[in-house]
Symmetry: C2
Subunit: 242 residues, 2 copies
């Protein structure tokens, strides 16, 4: 069944307005008609079965029938990624949504090129991936901030898994195995050229930082981001099993 | 330093012919001149420092000086991936090279669309990723084969990590933690529509198969392939640390 994110409240018998792009997708692309079933979620009230209804000749709405799955929270892990080439950044955002990151924060560091970033487009990519992956929320895409600004206001309780390519950090699987599976986390990935030496020591001096290594080969930033999220989920998140 | 894969033998004072695309890259794109240093590897004799030399007005060669790193073998893990959309398959091949897969085998299953596959192009992508990631070999890209043909001739000693999206397999981190870190392995990823029920039971009936789950969300095939390789390397490969 088709699954859509909608911002509105979900109440049986209510009416959910469709964005123009959503209506186009349902009616013109998927060729659904009046009465067709569509699953929706809004990030607050679980997943609902709805039915497509025509409210006027050109206007379509979704009418929620009943909740099909309760709201669940994804693990509290956010991804901090330095600005990288657009196509690779889009891959990272799609994968972060599939891998359950709650938030993607874009980072400006010494060696990033502060190019224009289209946060709306990245949010649309995250939304589509969240719809397809079956999660109950859409990861927030946070407008770019400087690394120094982020570290200055870093919350003491959020642990920071720092993927440090310099090679002297313990392997991620080892470093994470000593950590209790609770509390908020973040994963920090540098730009293609890496963080500068000054940036590396500032990150490592942050009280909650946990430097980790990702194997003996040089990874592109997008590869490192995807792998770090998978390893975190497997060790501390919802891929642990029981 | 620029790093290139060359098929020829590496001997001090020998002469390595350059492919036209390599010469174009070194001379026209990177603007190197006679005497410039280039690192090369051939998958057999480690990494060597070479110097660019002009053999005639239009012909350039590389002259090996000395070995800079010894040959090392990557862990014996191969990736079997069902044919998926071209751009996603190219992402998988690039990442498999970065993540140290020794071989990528393309799989035709019931729900794959047996579209034409350009193995030469995939090999070029794998070669470029191997050059950049610093590994000592280039993963082989194996021409598509049917799943049933692959399973019929499956070697008894190669374990098969089967990423089974049906949801009743133990999580990968649990399943792999019981396995000794030795011997040949393969990772099997299905197409976007998944394997059929008949295919799933045939895979599970293969003596060396280890069905594993990759968390509670639905992953795209390319995401699953990248994550499965990372988890395998972290548990059984060269991301284990010491």
């Amino acid at each position: 069944m088709i699954r859509l994110f909608v911002p509105g409240d979900l109440r049986a018998g209510g009416r959910l307005a469709l964005e123009r792009s959503q209506a186009h997708y349902l009616i013109d692309v998927m060729r659904l008609g009046e009465g067709a079933e569509v699953a929706v979620f809004n990030g607050r009230e679980g997943e609902w079965r709805t039915r497509l209804a025509r409210s006027s000749k050109a206007d379509w709405t979704l009418v929620p029938a009943a909740q099909s799955r309760p709201q669940t929270a994804s693990p509290d892990v956010e991804l901090l990624i330095a600005l990288i080439r657009r196509s690779r950044l889009e891959t990272v955002v799609e994968k972060a949504a599939e891998l359950g990151a709650r938030r993607v924060r874009l980072v400006i560091s010494e060696r990033t090129n502060p190019a224009r970033v289209n946060v709306d487009r990245l949010t649309a990519i995250a939304t589509e991936a969240a719809e397809q992956t079956g999660r109950m929320d859409v990861p927030e895409i946070v407008f770019p901030q400087t690394l120094s600004g982020i570290l200055q206001t870093w919350p003491a309780e959020r642990r920071l898994m720092f993927c440090d390519e310099a090679g002297d950090a313990p392997m991620a699987v080892q470093a994470l195995s000593d950590c209790p599976p609770a509390g908020p986390w973040a994963i920090l990935i540098g730009p293609e050229g890496g963080f500068s030496a000054a940036e590396r020591s500032r990150i490592r001096a942050t009280p909650c930082a946990l430097p980790v290594g990702l194997g003996p080969r040089i990874l592109r930033a997008d590869t490192a981001a995807i792998c770090a999220l998978a390893l975190w989920q497997a060790q501390l998140g919802d891929w642990r099993g029981t």
